[in-house]
Point group: C2
């Protein structure tokens, strides 16, 4: 049982507005307690579940990570997945689509990046970019896309398509969990300034991040609508207060463990025939 | 400087016989010192190098791992790569080739699994299986392969093809490092018995492992010839004594750090123009 995460889960058919949702939890324990006591308790749990998932080799856990720029996705992946066996983790980062990708439908590259059975997959950005930045900048569709398919309902259609796609995944052994790291505009400002001021972080800075900031309010609107429309029973969104990085990471670990508990992977049971032969194999090795 | 690893590196054009090479180092420090003192010193080094490699985004480090069954590849990946950012690590496990893979040349699936620039790639088994198990059991080639291309020189040709391929990779930004975890037949016996005797390890046991043991001597011969023929300046083999798991893992970390030092990745330097604009961006954020 992971306590306290349900408050972040967006129920199906609800209508949220991100500007109403806090980017900090007022009554969270202090950083020291989280970092030195609570996170270390979760690490072995996460590791054990992942080993079982891998051994069972039947289901996959797919984590979709979205956030505004500098929202903390990269750092979260690094910290949450530390000490989990990298052999069972597959991280896919979706940047600007390549020409080859633009030449297909928007879910094509997503599908190619799915984790295998037994793996935990992490999408650093995802198909949701195609209803976020694509929408804010009206980038849809690429020039080869049939104009007659572009109507004022295109975003609603995409929401439905995404829900359909994720349901298909769930019906085929994937548990899809979507996490939005929710930060304030002020926190983003601070983090971008940090990147400018620390030489070893400078490479992370992109001037486009600042240009995108001008559209902050529009992004929040588009994101609110998207999360409302695509949080489902089978593939829920969690909106995590992430101004404090360590808090978002801790809550994410809880969420992963919660869903792994629900998936309940088990070490494979050897067949009866195999068990009958056990002594035979032992003797062969002893001989 | 990583001390002591050069003794395991097989020089180009040398002729080794694995049966002459010990599977344990007599004068290694005790496990406790390695585990509690020496490995913890290496972890932050490995992490820092990997961050630079990722930030630089120009070169890749490709680790090829081979061993006899139960040689410790999976455990090594888990322990060595713990606390390295999984976003920059790509593990590819090569099992029995699929029908789709058999329908192509043997390097086709290898090439598809290469890490991206900036990543550390780990091959759990590799193209070398096509000159090991394929050779011991004379599995070459699949039925569609033109018979006239199969002659008594096929293994020599493959050695040359592999060296050519790896040189091509090196000339295109990959550092290829190959590690053979060297265990004794007795150690393998013990590990397979452990799998049979511990319920949570039973799923790792495969009766084919025992059947393959009958070919132990032939495997050692084929492996010796392969390592001799394919250890090159640009893509060297290291033969690590691996009866003690913790020792092989420690030495592997040293080897990775050594090669990362040689690659010497650097945080990208921003352009002069970018630096001129730095104050402009700061002001925009402050405003």
């Amino acid at each position: 049982m992971q306590i306290g995460i349900n408050q972040y889960r967006i129920p199906q058919n609800s209508k949220i507005d991100l500007t109403d949702i806090p980017t900090q939890d007022r009554n969270s324990p202090p950083k020291r307690v989280i970092r030195d006591e609570m996170v270390p308790q979760l690490r072995p749990q996460l590791r054990d579940w992942q080993e079982k998932l891998y051994a069972e080799n039947k289901q996959s856990l797919l984590i979709v990570l979205q956030a505004m720029d500098a929202g903390g996705k990269d750092g979260l992946i690094k910290h949450v997945m530390a000490s989990v066996n990298p052999q069972g983790v597959h991280v896919a980062s979706f940047k600007q689509p390549s020409l080859e990708e633009l030449d297909r439908d928007y879910l094509w590259r997503i599908n190619r990046a799915l984790p295998r059975r037994g793996e935990i997959g992490i999408f650093n950005r995802s198909h949701y970019e195609d209803v976020i930045i694509t929408r804010v900048h009206n980038l849809i569709p690429n020039e080869n896309f049939p104009a007659k398919l572009v109507d004022k309902d295109i975003w609603k259609k995409r929401f439905r398509q995404i829900c359909d796609y994720e349901r298909y995944l769930c019906e085929n052994g994937y548990q899809v969990v979507k996490i939005f790291l929710h930060i304030s505009k002020e926190e983003q400002r601070q983090r971008l300034l940090d990147r400018l001021n620390e030489p070893d972080k400078l490479w992370k800075f992109s001037s486009s991040d600042i240009k995108e900031r001008e559209h902050w309010e529009e992004y929040q609107k588009v994101l609110s609508e998207m999360i409302s429309a695509t949080s489902t029973e089978h593939a829920p969104w969690y909106v995590l207060p992430a101004d404090k990085k360590w808090w978002g990471r801790f809550r994410t670990m809880q969420i992963l463990i919660h869903h792994l508990e629900m998936m309940d992977p088990k070490y494979p049971k050897p067949s009866e025939e195999f068990m009958k032969n056990l002594d035979y194999w032992r003797k062969l090795l002893d001989g």
